[in-house]
Amino acid sequence: MQLTYLIRRLAFLVFVVWSAITLLFFLPRLSPINPVRERFAELQRSTGWAPRDLERLVKVYEVKFGLNKPLHEQYLEYMGSLLRGDLGYSIMRYPRTVGDLIAQALPWTIGLLTVTTLLTFAIGTGIGALAAWPRSPQWVKGMVTPLVVLAAIPPYLLGLLLIYFVAFRAKLLPMGGAYTLGRFAEPELSMPFLLDVARHAILPALSLILSTVGFWALGMRGMGVTVQGEDYVTFAEHKGLDLSRIFYAYYVRNAILPQVTALALAFGSIVSSGILVEYLYGFPGLGSLLNAAILANDFFVIYGIGLITILAVAVSMMVVDLLYPLLDPRIRYTRA
């Protein structure tokens, strides 16, 4: 039954997400580090300002953030507020809430990563399909190995090289940021602003694209090779069908299925896969927020980001499972 399958899958999703959140809740609380005291110690180190009644101050803030209660009460309250969509207050920018900070950063991350993910998917799948196609020239077939090696290199490193050679030496593109700060006071919906953002996004996008294209190429080539040997492709060739028709309708169409599921999964990691690159380029997405939160020991922001990334991954995993029977008519979910 499709419906029972759907319900079971949903229940498992809820269970996994709950487990992950519980893990995230208890992990930091096993440690002796007190986030509030750390925050003040940090302030003291960086400004030389020493509060006289440090312990009292810590207590006041502990009450404010609910850190003074027994663990199980904290846990219940935490889960309760999560259900209401409340992620709590940020320690580093106190009056602002975690939800507010994340909502501000998220559009930048989603914008950058959606574009790069779709581009890498198209480029990588194209290269992979051509690499497995017998009539392709040799240099196309040889492209996969270098791309796979490139895929092993963290995008952060490629980003550093791009900043140095393209932005700093050649001065072709800006070194960082999301838009020219002097020109625009704040983000606006206008053509010049969008063009400016695009110009700033080229290098971060390129670092991410270069380092993930190999993954898609390898996957598509692997599938392409198996489809190559299928009888229906041979039959289509013998019928004398147009080569481009065989390529698209018979070969790519059948080989692309696992790529599409991988794409759905990649959308799940969209909020987390660009973290380091965003931070490197000072791109105002979740990566920069996470870095700021780490520097300031702002644990609530760190958990908030963790939570968003977990939800995204879990939902995409489920979407993949549900999409499967739609994409591939050979798969039917019945009780196994």
Binding site: L24, S31, I33, V148, V149, I153, V225
Partner: protein
């Protein structure tokens, strides 16, 4: 059964060495990867013999921000580390973190994978639930949370790094071993062994393990690569061992002090190249081992 076309022709069996060399010619990824790795290990080993890295790779050993010169071939950084000594020590330290975490990963992963695949039942269910939960949390995010909340930032050592990196290093191996065991478990030779009175452990070590060696080798390289990548991510975000000149920390300091903007290009370029070489060599070896373990990939190249 012997197959010979001409029964009178003398049968010359090529020596083992020729066979290996012939195979290596068909597997250039493995050769290039191993050569690169040997170069890196040689650089670290010979470098440590020639240079006193225990002082020169640490602050105040040299005048700050010197461009490459005869005395400091790779230049020095803002805190007065000699970058040649830093690279020598950094390659070894980074390699050590990877090896430690990779070893933990492969050992734990193999044990867990065998438990899940061989015994099945509730053991398998629990392990699958655990991996599913851990897979839901993006690796970098989980490691950031572990590293930023459990350990004191100023007391991080390379052992801490290896520990944090191995939190996830076992999963790939565990999944691979589980799948392999599931497919091998029902083969005739295993049933034969069981019928002839072998115990579980004996079957695991004498019948199943030898069949999985190439997979285990590939997944060990994968785990090492993952661990170096994970520790680099943490180092880039400032959660690394602040007192040790690992390659990742060197990059962290260079970025932190805006080395590119200040035109101290040598401070950025060498560590980036070193890390790229490390990742490239491991990726090539991994690809080569994959070809060895899974000959079906061969047809395509």
């Amino acid at each position: 059964m012997e197959l010979a076309l001409d029964p009178h022709a003398p049968v010359t069996q090529p020596s083992q060495l020729t066979l290996v060399l012939r195979y290596l010619r068909r597997n250039p990824s493995l050769v290039v990867g191993v050569l690169l790795l040997l170069f890196l290990v040689g650089f670290g080993a010979i470098g440590s013999l020639l240079i006193d890295t225990s002082t020169r790779a640490y602050p105040l050993a040299a005048p700050p921000v010197q461009p490459p010169s005869a005395q400091y071939p790779l230049g020095t950084d803002r805190d007065g580390r000699d970058l040649l000594a830093v690279m020598v020590r950094g390659v070894l330290l980074t390699g050590a973190v990877g090896l430690m975490a990779g070893t933990v990963g492969i050992v734990v992963g193999t044990v867990v994978g065998f438990l899940a695949g061989y015994f099945g039942g509730w053991v398998d269910a629990v392990i699958r639930w655990l991996t599913e939960v851990l897979m839901t949390i993006p690796p970098l995010v989980l490691q950031v949370i572990v590293a930023s909340t459990i350990v004191d930032k100023n007391k991080v050592t390379i052992f801490t790094m290896a520990g944090v990196a191995s939190v996830l290093a076992w999963m790939g191996t565990a999944r691979m071993v589980r799948a392999q065991v599931l497919s091998l478990r029902e083969r005739a030779f295993v049933s034969m062994a069981r019928l002839s009175g072998m115990g579980d452990l004996e079957i695991i070590f004498r019948e199943l393990m030898p069949n999985m060696l190439p997979y285990l080798a590939a997944s060990f390289v994968g785990a090492v690569m993952g661990a170096i990548g994970a520790s680099f991510g943490l180092e880039a975000l400032g959660l690394g061992p602040v007192r040790e000149p690992t390659i990742g920390m060197t990059i962290r300091w260079a970025v932190y002090h805006s080395a590119i903007f200040n035109q101290w290009w040598w401070w950025v370029l060498w560590p980036v190249l070193a890390l790229i070489l490390i990742f490239a060599s491991l990726a090539l070896i991994n690809r080569g081992l994959d070809e060895l373990a899974n000959p079906r990939v061969r047809r395509t190249e």
